[in-house]
Symmetry: C2
Subunit: 162 residues, 2 copies
């Protein structure tokens, strides 16, 4: 049926698949804990970003740091705000912007989850090797910081999605 060979790297050599599978392994360990607290991965990313920052975050930077789109962040913030886990404060001299921060309850929640999250992380370190894992993290950061653009071919062809 597929008589002619298909000149393409094997599925195993696919970088996106390898990244996905590695991430799946890790998330399988983290998900039950998040589910217990009624948090989606994405909601947790937002809480974590807010917990990690020392400067007040606005919606735009928050979206970028969490690898979420602005509309997704908008909805997630509405949800977290309804649960009193985050609060907003309009920026002084620009009424369009607001900074987001954890409420005390939000910080408490992160503090509650942190130990099991760290424990899970430590288990991965034990099995994979701490040094090895930290080298892997560096490589991933370097890879993520490559500033490549999609092929010119693929850009600006507004009929592409039609």
């Amino acid at each position: 049926m597929t008589a002619e060979p298909i000149p393409m790297r094997s599925f195993r050599q696919s970088l996106p698949m390898a990244l996905l599978e590695a991430r799946e392994m890790a998330m399988r360990l983290f998900r039950p804990m998040l589910a217990r607290h009624d948090l989606t991965e994405q909601q947790w990313r937002v809480l974590r970003a807010l917990a990690a920052t020392d400067v007040p975050l606005e919606v735009g930077p928050l979206a970028q740091q969490t690898s979420l789109l602005a509309p997704s962040v908008s909805r997630i913030l509405a949800n977290l705000e309804a649960r009193h886990l985050i609060g907003r404060r309009t920026v002084e001299h620009d009424q369009r912007r607001s900074t987001i921060s954890l409420t005390d309850a939000g910080a408490d929640l992160v503090r509650t989850i942190a130990p099991s999250s760290e424990a899970t992380y430590n288990r991965i370190e034990e099995h994979f090797g701490a040094d090895r894992l930290s080298r892997l993290l560096e490589e991933l950061h370097d890879l993520a910081s490559l500033e490549l653009e999609p092929d010119a071919h693929d850009v600006g062809t507004s009929e592409g999605a039609a």
Copy 2:
């Protein structure tokens, strides 16, 4: 507001985030090409798995290889079948199972996409280093093969999702 510190690794040291960001970098390059062919990432994963295999794949193994859930694969296959990109053939001595394969049109489509996919991959290799990338792939595979279970704490608590 977050007076007490939160004892947790920095966002930057988060393995799931690093994996996600690296994957986002790669997918940003691949997505426009897939969109041009009206394929989602997941549909492409299925086509790619089918193109890569030498043995006929059933739905279960296909779901596992693509890191998709069976219901997702079910719908994706229905879509791809309607587009005449894949075909099914009932297994001889077990009427429940069927094997999935690319149609000629499906194989042609993969063959059409393969060159730009490879070109994109080569650009990543150029910028990151081919050896370095191949070492990274190995590490990712090793990481993905860790057979860790979620904490006992998190398992079997059927009220967890409630």
